[in-house]
């Protein structure tokens, strides 16, 4: 038995001895390194080692959770005692409990989530990668005059999960990232933008110079930005901003929002919620992808879930508790970030179309191409949507001038219904990804 499994087994045995009728534990151990460089000089280098145990105990149908980063015997005993004591004061809940032991994953597939290629580069080599990325951005144009810096990070983690019915499995992951944030300036105006690459394998990171040049181009195209007049026009979301719309859909489709009746997708299962061209899939089994995991936070095997199929809401996103409350089966989306259990997606993607982004822009006489969104103006209960935006104005099918200090507003259900163009440019750069999306009309508020 590995040290992790032994530690978890001890903790769960103590919980049972203290009167818990069932318990589960999730142990995360990670080591990370990050280095930032600004204007060619090292800025901050961080090393860390962390570990965290998240424990859930049941006393009949009542439950409580606890977590600790102190894995000493004394501390673990205290955590177990506190959690079992807490479980005695919470109310009975007929839907509480672990998943059936028979449903837990048996064989953990190798999803290629860990980089085994050696040798490990030195900290100097890693710093150099950030330096090269930033240097490429600074060299791209004389108007790139400053920088918020470039950052490299890597992280290796091991996850172990065990239940009081004897289940114990684990898996390891690695992740790497490189981001650059240059500042462009002209006539007293400053604009910052960012570009990045994340991957499970070091060698899958995008070339440092290419990240730097993309970041520079993004900052440069914002120079000279202005407000536009308030109007209702076609709006095109670039892939990164379109991905944020998927996150809002996933939030509304998640079990806790639904049983609390706090979702605009309530009672919409099986009905059309988007244009027929829209298919949204959450696929946690893609080899080597950032959001992949062999099993969820309750030991249930990861799947490929069609969330929206040709416009129709095909599935919610559920852990076992929210599934029982809704009279449905878990979709294996339990996530275990803190001590409790929540719902989280894996690799969430909108299926690409066949039109190039250039042709989508070309189809608009006068409209707005969105490249950045800020603020929190999304209401998950009603779908009402109003966020700050920056991007480019489209005139006669071409990107004409940069735009800032405006908002885009509508309602998410109407926006997904009004999707009239889907780009062919889906790239899984992060855990959530979308191609360029064209929405027939939204309100852009400015002057």
């Amino acid at each position: 038995m590995s040290a992790d499994a032994a530690l978890l087994a001890d903790v769960l045995a103590r919980a049972t001895a203290r009167g818990a009728t069932a318990a589960d534990g999730f142990l995360i151990e990670e080591q990370s390194f990050s280095a930032s460089v600004r204007l060619g000089q090292v800025d901050t280098v961080t090393h860390s080692r962390e570990q965290r145990l998240a424990l859930r105990v049941f006393a009949g149908r009542a439950s409580a959770a606890a977590s600790t980063s102190d894995l000493s015997r004394e501390s673990l005993e205290r955590v177990v005692d506190e959690a079992t004591a807490l479980a005695r004061v919470t109310a009975e809940d007929p839907h509480a409990g672990l998943p059936d032991a028979a449903e837990l994953i048996e064989h953990v597939p190798d999803l290629q989530l860990e980089d085994h290629e050696g040798p490990e580069p030195t900290p100097e080599d890693k710093i150099e990668l950030a330096r090269r990325a930033e240097a490429a951005a600074l060299a791209a144009d004389p108007r790139i005059t400053n920088s918020e810096g470039a950052e490299y990070f890597d992280r290796r983690a091991h996850y172990a999960y065990a239940t009081s019915h004897g289940f114990a499995r684990g898996y390891s992951t690695s992740s790497f990232g490189l981001t650059v944030s240059p500042v462009a300036a002209k006539d007293g105006e400053m604009q910052r933008d960012v570009w990045y690459s994340y991957a499970r394998r070091r060698r899958a990171l995008e070339d440092a110079e290419s990240i730097g040049r993309t970041a520079a181009a993004r900052a440069l195209r914002r120079l000279g930005a202005r407000k536009v007049k308030t109007a209702e026009v076609p709006v095109i979301f670039d892939p990164d901003t379109a991905a944020s719309l998927l996150r809002s859909i996933a939030g509304a489709a998640s079990g806790p929002s639904l049983y609390r009746r706090a979702s605009f997708l309530l009672e919409r299962l099986g009905t059309r919620i988007a244009a027929p061209s829209v298919t949204i899939v959450d696929d946690g089994l893609l080899p080597g992808a950032l959001g992949s995991r062999p099993f969820d936070g309750e030991g249930l095997a990861t799947r490929r879930t069609v969330l929206v199929g040709e416009g129709k809401l095909e599935s919610y996103l559920l852990d076992s508790y929210s599934a029982r409350k809704l009279g449905l089966a878990s979709t294996h989306h339990a996530s275990r970030d803190g001590a409790g259990v929540s719902v989280g997606t894996t690799n969430l993607m909108l299926r690409p179309g066949t039109t190039s982004p250039q042709d989508l822009i070309g189809s608009v006489k006068s409209g707005f191409y969105v490249t950045e969104l800020i603020g929190f103006g999304v209401n998950g209960v009603t779908g009402d949507y109003s966020r700050g935006a920056a991007g480019m104005w489209i005139e006669d099918g071409r990107l004409a001038f940069p735009v800032e200090e405006v908002t885009v507003a509508g309602n998410l259900l109407e926006m997904f219904d009004r999707i009239e163009g889907i780009g062919n440019d889906l790239v899984l750069r992060d855990r959530v990804a979308a191609p360029t999306l064209k929405i027939a009309r939204m309100v852009v508020a400015g002057d």
């Binding site: 600004r38 961080t46 809940d93």
Partner: protein, 483 residues
């Protein structure tokens, strides 16, 4: 069941529990770091957090989290080496110090010139009974009473979610200049979310408060009942709200929480790091006019029992009352030690971090505008058409371009000087260096928020406060859907 960690001074707590004494911390700093760096420190933290959640009429979720760790930092010029560990064993602390120092070795540091700790720490939140130790039965009983009061406030309230968090952080920091200081920080927050339904329409509303206060804070003058009623009102009000207007108009902000405008529009832009790097829209503008002369803004970490207050910041510097803008003129930035040293300024007690796992950076504490002369009713009466916004969700700013947004959760149309219909989904957007030049009236009704703010920067969250009197802004852009 609950250990009373607050009863012990931080020095004794860490030495009894983990065998880490101030002299050991000094030795780690001395043998590993002295003479090679400009500044260095070791930060120890122990945190206990308890959360109770009521939904569907019963308390179903209870959790308790413990985290502990040490962060070791070495600085040389503008470079920072930071290492943290959650295992306080000596060998891990030595390894962290070695990793932090590696950065300084690469640069050939100039020896310790760290700013010595100045002044005495404040005593802003010593509590007879910190919220983390209050017995569970009393907390559970309060959650049930809040649930009942919120539902009783309006029959259209269908769901109530109440959460109560109680936290205690013990920290101890030793710096290379020989200054060791600790702090014990209680914090509590009560949050009430109501979901109302009427016909086919559903809406969500919320209210809450807290601070570095005892549990009894919620019982004083039936504060809990006011919060519960207010959450119900926020949700039901929106059931009849109309779509927000879109376009440029006069905006009146109510007192208290709308001070989030200051936090987003100018606060972040006045943090030292962005200004040292020259990437803030306010960089190089000290002494210049950046706001209407009616506007004076301070950041004050020394107000007793407030959510954003600290006896010392997370670098050991006592907090202060720092004037950011005085009668419209930009007077000062908020600084941590690194940026103060590099800019030739004094630290202002604004060096904060989320936890031992994060290096400190300049952050706000309680940021607010001082009261003016105007009667709030007169301010409203003088507006022929505009938006009156009294509660907000979150906000965000692009520090470099200065553009900010914040979302109103409670707002009304102003028509001919009267508050008329409630509107939903209004987002305000503006330009930081320009927004406060549009302030044309300032009320005498300064209020601080109820104690719910959390600020995020570079992935680090810290509790903050804001405050504002009623103000009028001319020509703000409102991002609604009604053209």
């Amino acid at each position: 069941m609950t250990e009373n960690i607050a009863r012990m001074p931080p020095e004794r707590f860490f030495s009894e529990r983990f065998d880490v004494t101030p002299s050991l911390m000094e030795r780690l700093l001395g043998s590993n770091l002295a003479g090679r760096v400009d500044d260095a420190d070791i930060y120890l933290e122990y945190r206990v957090n308890e959360e109770l959640v009521l939904e569907e009429n019963v308390v179903k979720k209870a959790s308790r989290h413990v985290s502990q760790g040490a962060g070791v930092r070495a600085q040389s010029g503008a470079r920072t080496g930071y290492a943290h560990t959650d295992d306080l064993a000596l060998k891990n602390l030595e390894e962290a110090a070695r990793q932090a120092r590696a950065i300084a070795d690469r640069s050939g540091g100039s020896g310790v010139v760290a700013v010595a700790g100045r002044g005495r720490p404040h005593d802003l939140y010593t509590l007879a009974e910190p919220p983390i130790v209050t017995e569970l039965a009393r907390k559970l009983d309060l959650l049930r009473r809040i649930d009942a009061a919120c539902r009783a406030a309006d029959p259209r309230v269908r769901q109530v979610i109440v959460s109560l968090t109680s936290e205690e952080v013990v920290m101890l920091i030793a710096t290379a200049s020989g200054w060791t200081v600790g702090d014990v920080r209680p914090l509590t927050r009560l949050n009430i979310t109501a979901i109302a339904e009427d016909g086919g329409r559903r809406e969500i509303g919320g209210f809450g408060g807290g601070g570095r206060v005892p549990f009894d804070f919620y019982l004083e003058a039936d504060r809990w009942k006011r919060f519960a009623t207010e959450a119900a009102r926020q949700a039901t009000l929106k059931l009849s709200a109309i779509d927000a207007p879109a376009g440029t108009m006069t905006v009146v902000l109510g007192p208290g929480w709308p001070g989030i405008l200051l936090h987003e529009a100018i606060g972040h832009g006045l943090e030292g790091d962005f200004n040292r790097k020259g990437v803030s829209a306010f960089a190089g503008r000290l002494g210049q006019k950046v706001a209407s002369e009616l506007v004076t803004v301070v950041d004050d970490g020394t107000i007793a029992n407030r959510r954003g207050s600290l006896n010392v910041d997370d670098e050991g510097t006592p907090t202060g009352r720092n004037v950011l803008i005085e009668n419209g003129i930009l007077r000062g930035y908020m600084q941590d030690r690194l940026n103060a040293r590099l800019m030739g300024q004094a630290p202002t007690g604004n060096g904060r971090r989320e936890s031992y796992a994060h290096p400190p950076m300049p952050r706000m504490t309680n940021t607010f505008m001082l009261a003016g002369q105007d009667d709030p009713r007169e301010i409203l009466k003088a507006v022929s058409r505009g938006l009156y916004a009294v509660n907000f969700g979150g906000g965000q700013v692009d520090i470099t371009s200065g553009k900010f947004v914040f979302s109103a959760s409670e707002a009304y149309l102003i028509e001919d000087g009267e508050i008329t219909k409630p509107v939903k989904g209004a987002t305000l957007i503006g330009n930081g260096p320009d927004a406060l030049t549009r302030v044309s009236r300032v009320g005498y009704d300064l209020a601080l928020d109820e104690g719910v703010g959390t600020c995020g920067k570079d992935g680090q969250s810290v509790p903050v406060g804001v405050g504002l009197p009623t103000i009028r802004l001319d020509g703000m852009t409102v991002g609604g859907t009604a053209v």
